[in-house]
């Protein structure tokens, strides 16, 4: 056996890395604060770019970790994390158990931005403002209605909520919201064929395979309207519709319209778990609050702390595709580390 690895976080990154490490002969302690694996993926219905059911990926992840060599510690999280005198780590969990390992992988993921912080969008106050996460839930239940139970005739999707916005102290781009917006706009049009769907964006960042193609499809096949302009203010009228103010920057004039439903594409922020692990292990944080890896090119899974590795969206906003690839790469880095350690030690 190569050694034992403690993985903090049972989302896609943690699960994929656990499988890869077990496959390479490691023993894995997989620690997850919730009772099941999946992390933020559990809030999603369908995935971009292929509209795969999120449940199928969740099943894949469950199968990945239901195997010999992976011990799943559910519903618990680290209380204290310390280095053992003989090397490696000892993590005391909130359920009272103690797990020990030769290496530690932080896979604590992200949290979605609290939309109520953008006060001018009225989330939590106006009746027909929801987040992209809540919309996924509506999709899962196959029903999208306004607070009055009516079928929305015009829906607006607001990009960059909590991203690229100094006012909420987030300079960074959350990367996946643009394509999520395109995907959700298409789903809305399929579900509500009579409704007009608008996306209000600052830039369309279609960086992944198939994303730009999906954007084209959204325009051409689904007649979704994309307006380049950031929402300045939303207000609720007597009919509980949203009256919005944006600039249609490509024509250079202010634009106002009413929406029956407004969807906020909430961005990614460093999770509480990431912050806790970073402070427990002395990991460096980037200015955006995510954990800074050792090197942005060749050391994306390494940290400044010996034996501590990172995977997935605890280091930066990342798509599911990239997260899984990052987890495999982290597993490689860890086995490299354990091999080197073994050869050093007699």
């Amino acid at each position: 056996m190569k050694g034992t690895v403690i993985i903090i976080g049972g989302g896609p990154a943690g699960c994929e890395a656990a499988h890869q490490l077990a496959e390479k002969g490691c023993r894995v302690h997989l620690v997850e604060k919730n009772n099941e694996t999946g992390g933020n993926l559990n809030n999603w219905y369908q995935l971009f770019p292929d509209r795969k059911e999120a449940e199928s990926v969740r099943g894949y992840l469950r199968r990945r970790v239901s195997r010999p060599g992976v011990e799943f510690h559910a519903g618990t999280e680290p209380r204290t994390t310390s280095r053992r005198p003989q090397g490696g780590f000892a993590v005391e969990l909130t359920d009272g158990s103690l797990v020990e390992g030769d290496a530690l992988l932080v896979a604590t993921g992200f949290r979605t931005f609290d939309a109520a912080r953008k006060e001018e969008y009225g989330y939590g106050i106006y009746e027909n403002v929801i987040t992209s996460v809540e919309l996924e839930n509506l999709f899962a239940n196959h029903e999208v209605r306004t607070s009055r139970g009516e079928t929305p005739r015009r829906v607006g999707i607001i990009h960059c909520v909590g991203s690229r916005d100094e006012k909420v102290c987030n300079y960074h781009c959350s990367k996946v919201c643009c394509v999520t917006g395109v995907k959700q706009a298409i789903e809305l049009r399929e579900m509500l064929p009579e409704a007009e769907v608008f996306c209000f964006y600052m830039d369309m960042r279609m960086f992944g395979p198939g994303y730009e193609e999906m954007y084209r499809e959204a325009q051409e096949r689904h007649n979704i309207k994309f307006v380049r302009g950031r929402l300045s203010e939303a207000a609720e009228n007597q009919e509980k519709q949203l009256q919005i103010k944006v600039e249609d920057t490509l024509v250079g004039r202010p634009l106002r319209m009413t929406l029956d439903l407004m969807v906020l594409l909430v961005g990614m922020e460093a999770s509480e778990g990431s912050r806790k692990m970073a402070s427990a292990l002395g990991l460096e944080l980037a200015p955006n609050g995510f954990i800074r890896p050792a090197d942005p090119h060749w050391g994306t899974n390494l940290t400044g702390a010996d034996g501590v590795f990172v995977a997935g969206s605890c280091t930066a906003p990342m798509s599911l595709t990239d997260t899984l690839a990052d987890a495999r790469s982290a597993a490689d880095s860890i086995t490299e580390y354990l091999d080197a350690k073994e050869s050093r030690e007699p």
């Binding site: 006060e119 009225g122 106050i125 009746e127 207000a235 609720e236």
Partner: protein, 355 residues
């Protein structure tokens, strides 16, 4: 709208407001347009609530109008404000309470500037010393006078003679609040309730029995600006902003508007006449306008002050429909009589706006 969401925001935006011993800084224009407001404020605080307020004849304009119109440089306005602080310090007060939103914004901005750039404060101290031989302490507490009335809204409610309720039907009166832009848009943390869901005036409305209206253009500027309304050629886009607000609030059938900024209150009142003359449009019921009150006038009515004592006859939009709803007794014959019973002259009757 979900009240819980707003209450969460209101919790986040509370500020410290001193309890007593205020140094009062008057507005340049309020005594002209709303001549009873500042008197009512002093009378309520001193004689109803038993507070100590220093009304200092030596203090001047803050020069805010000149500053915002590019005729007064920053160093000058800072030195003038420093002089106000010096007068406050010399009088033994620590809490400054401007009556004007422009002044409030300027005081806030200057104190913030000094906090970040102590060298600017040092320079201004030197200017003030050279010009007047005075020195000052920075105020311990800065609050707008609407913050003070907000703070004591419960005490005022407890002494209410009239509530903001239709005396005949029991229906809560619908009040539109208008917050001056410089109250919270520059520094949201300095305003009760912040900039998006301000509570400083709506809190008074609900405390006194009324219903606060949150209409779509609630946050929009009244269009006052400074050089905008000062230059006749620019007034077209100044008034258009007030019009936008009236159009947006009209479907809610508000019984009154309450404002905490001298310019806004004046604009929202006088422009209703202008718009009616230019376009024939009126925004209240039966050809009347929507009465516009300052928060002191509103507090005064609630406490049972005589409307003509409060100077409500100087408003452009007739306030009688509101007085009738509140059940406030008034003598129509006395509207244009001075305190010693002489005719003060009467305004001409507008073409469309009923008065």
């Amino acid at each position: 709208m979900k009240l819980e969401g707003k209450e969460q925001i209101w919790k986040d935006y509370q500020k410290e407001i001193a309890d007593d011993r205020y140094y009062y800084a008057r507005s340049c224009i309020r005594q002209t347009f709303f001549p009873g407001s500042e008197w009512a404020y002093l009378d309520i605080l001193r004689n109803r609530l038993g507070k100590d307020v220093m009304d200092d004849p030596r203090h001047t304009t803050c020069t805010g109008i000149g500053y915002h119109s590019d005729v007064v440089p920053a160093q000058t306005i800072m030195t003038v404000v420093a002089r106000h602080f010096a007068l406050m310090t010399e009088a033994g007060y620590e809490n400054i309470t401007p009556s004007c939103i422009t002044s409030f914004g300027i005081y806030t901005e200057i104190l913030e500037t000094w906090a970040h750039h102590p060298e600017v404060e040092e320079q201004v101290r030197e200017y003030l010393w050279k010009a007047t031989g005075r020195e000052f302490k920075k105020p311990r507490n800065l609050a707008h006078t609407s913050d003070i009335i907000y703070k004591f809204r419960g005490e005022i409610a407890a002494r209410a003679r009239h509530r903001l309720v239709d005396a005949h039907t029991g229906r809560p009166l619908r009040g539109v609040d208008h917050i001056g832009c410089h109250y919270a848009k520059m520094f949201p943390s300095k305003g009760i309730g912040g900039a998006e869901f301000p509570a400083v005036l709506s809190g008074m409305i609900t405390a006194w029995g009324g219903e606060a209206v949150d209409y779509p253009e609630r946050r929009h500027c009244c269009g006052f600006g400074f050089r905008q309304y000062l230059v006749m050629a620019n007034r077209g886009y100044s008034v258009a902003n007030s019009k936008k607000k009236f159009e947006s609030m009209r479907p809610y059938e508000p019984d009154f508007i309450v404002a905490n900024c001298p310019g806004c209150a004046m604009f929202l009142d006088k422009w209703q006449y202008t718009i009616s003359e230019m376009e024939g449009t009126t925004y209240g019921a039966n050809g009347y306008g929507i009465p516009v009150l300052t928060y002191e006038e509103l507090a005064g009515l609630v406490l049972g002050y005589d409307p003509w004592e409060l100077g409500l006859q100087m408003h452009q939009v007739a306030v009688e429909p509101l007085l009738d709803k509140m059940g406030v007794a008034y003598d129509p014959e006395a509207k244009y009589l001075t305190r010693d019973g002489k005719e003060m002259g009467r305004p001409k009757c507008p073409t469309y706006l009923k008065v």
